[in-house]
């Protein structure tokens, strides 16, 4: 029982960590492009990215389940060519989490980029620096609080994910059984003590990490 508890929590945070790192590499370029583009397709892209905010997670989970299933074209192709099964697997959870938490990474960083005066990058370009150098040395360092907010929200949100995982992950210990699922499972089994242990950890985690973000952001604002 005890090892199950540790294993479940470890898996929960592993999923969140992997998802967050991948999201950072997806989210920063995406936010950068969205903040810069004049394209008329921008609203459509923004709507797509933000959909997980308003859709019931079960809807997303349902379609991912259909897509990942070995009976679908995509799922079949993945199994045939690379022997990857995304349904009821950790890899599948990561992909689901990437989509589900994407807006939490992209939105703060995008508004960070948009709040930077354009004169900063224009000054940098006029000093002979490329778009890439300007991004790394001027723009990103000046929106650190926004990037941090994106990282923390994406991580915390992945930890708290339930509906998507229930649909595509199931409840396999050590593979797809994360804390939120475990709570549901323990309550179903009338095992309230165990459910309470998981729930308490998540409550403390959420509070600590949010308090940390607000503290760091305040300090950054003061020194800026």
């Amino acid at each position: 029982m005890d090892s199950g508890f540790g294993q479940t929590l470890l898996l929960t945070f592993q999923l969140a960590a992997v998802t967050t790192v991948l999201l950072l590499f997806i989210g920063v370029p995406l936010a950068f492009l969205l903040s810069r583009t004049q394209s008329r397709f921008k609203p459509i892209l923004e709507a797509l990215i933000s959909m997980p905010l308003v859709l019931p997670p079960t809807v997303l989970g349902f379609y991912l389940l259909l897509a990942f299933s070995p009976r679908s074209a995509l799922g079949n192709w993945l199994v045939e060519t690379a022997n990857i099964r995304l349904v009821f697997s950790f890899a599948g959870l990561v992909i689901g989490s990437l989509i589900y938490s994407l807006p939490f990474m992209v939105q703060p960083i995008q508004s960070g980029f948009e709040s930077l005066p354009k004169h900063l990058r224009e000054a940098s370009y006029s000093l002979g620096k490329s778009v890439w150098q300007t991004l790394l040395r001027v723009e990103l360092p000046n929106i650190k609080p926004a990037v941090l907010t994106g990282i923390v929200l994406a991580f915390a949100h992945t930890v708290g994910e339930f509906g998507v995982i229930l649909m595509i992950g199931g409840n396999i210990p050590g593979e797809t059984r994360v804390a939120s699922i475990a709570i549901y499972d323990e309550v179903e089994a009338l095992n309230y003590g165990m459910a309470n242990q998981y729930a308490l950890v998540l409550v403390l985690f959420a509070f600590t990490i949010l308090a940390l973000v607000y503290t760091i952001n305040r300090r950054m604002l003061r020194t800026a």
Binding site: P117, L120, E122, A123, S124, S126, L127, G128, N142
Partner: protein, 290 residues
Amino acid sequence: MIQTSLRKALHAATGPMTLDIQLDILTGEFLAITGASGSGKTTLLRLLAGLEKPEEGRILVDDTVWLDSARGIQLPIQERKVGLVFQEYALFPNMTVRENLEYGLGKGQSKVIIDELIGITELEQLLDRYPAKLSGGQQQRVALARALVRRPKLLLLDEPLSALDNRMRERLQNYILQVHQAFSLTTLLVSHDHREIFKLADRVISLRQGKISQPDLPETVRYANVSDGTFRLSGEVLQLEEAGSGFSVSVLIGTNVLRVPATMEDLRRLQPGDRVEVLVDAQHAMLIKA
């Protein structure tokens, strides 16, 4: 010599208009650009810098083509070697004054230029401070120095001093004049301040609705009258000042500034911005090809 010919459709607050400018700027010249807001001054600077694209145009700097829409040539801003100073300073908040300056260094460029600029703009005491801890005037001094790190040929100043108070403004004007001379720059200054223009510029052009407005040319021609040996030139008063034992009034005629001796009486009834006529007594008028 910088030769430009630019055309671009703009959407000003007053409605759509077309920027259409032919302008030659001499090497080493200090040219001021004035005009109402929305007349296209900033756009002209941004077109020269390469921050905006014209629909049609050419920019020739000495023998280098910066822009030629007919041949599809468009040098990016990074390759144009312009120094840019904005009204908003635009210092990088994450870097100290020294880091802001060093950021401008090209690959392998010697740091000597930085020390030279620090000396001219008197930044020695401020090097380790972050921009947030500087006054507006100090920030603009850093921005001016930073714009010169790459040794640009062309310095573009977009209302650099309009956010500063008068005292600070005069100090900054001196720095601008110093670097203009010390680095043999060609400088373009957008400004609304007649005194500032008079103090700094060799020549001034005025933009109106995206075009260089001709200063009352028909009127000037009508009044210019050589037969009785007198020119009548109409212009605008820029500045009144003491000159030795008497007084003088500086009058902007076309793009030239004429300093005219004046009496105490003149000073009392004139103020900057007044329209005046200058009568010039000339027995012999001669033409010299420029």
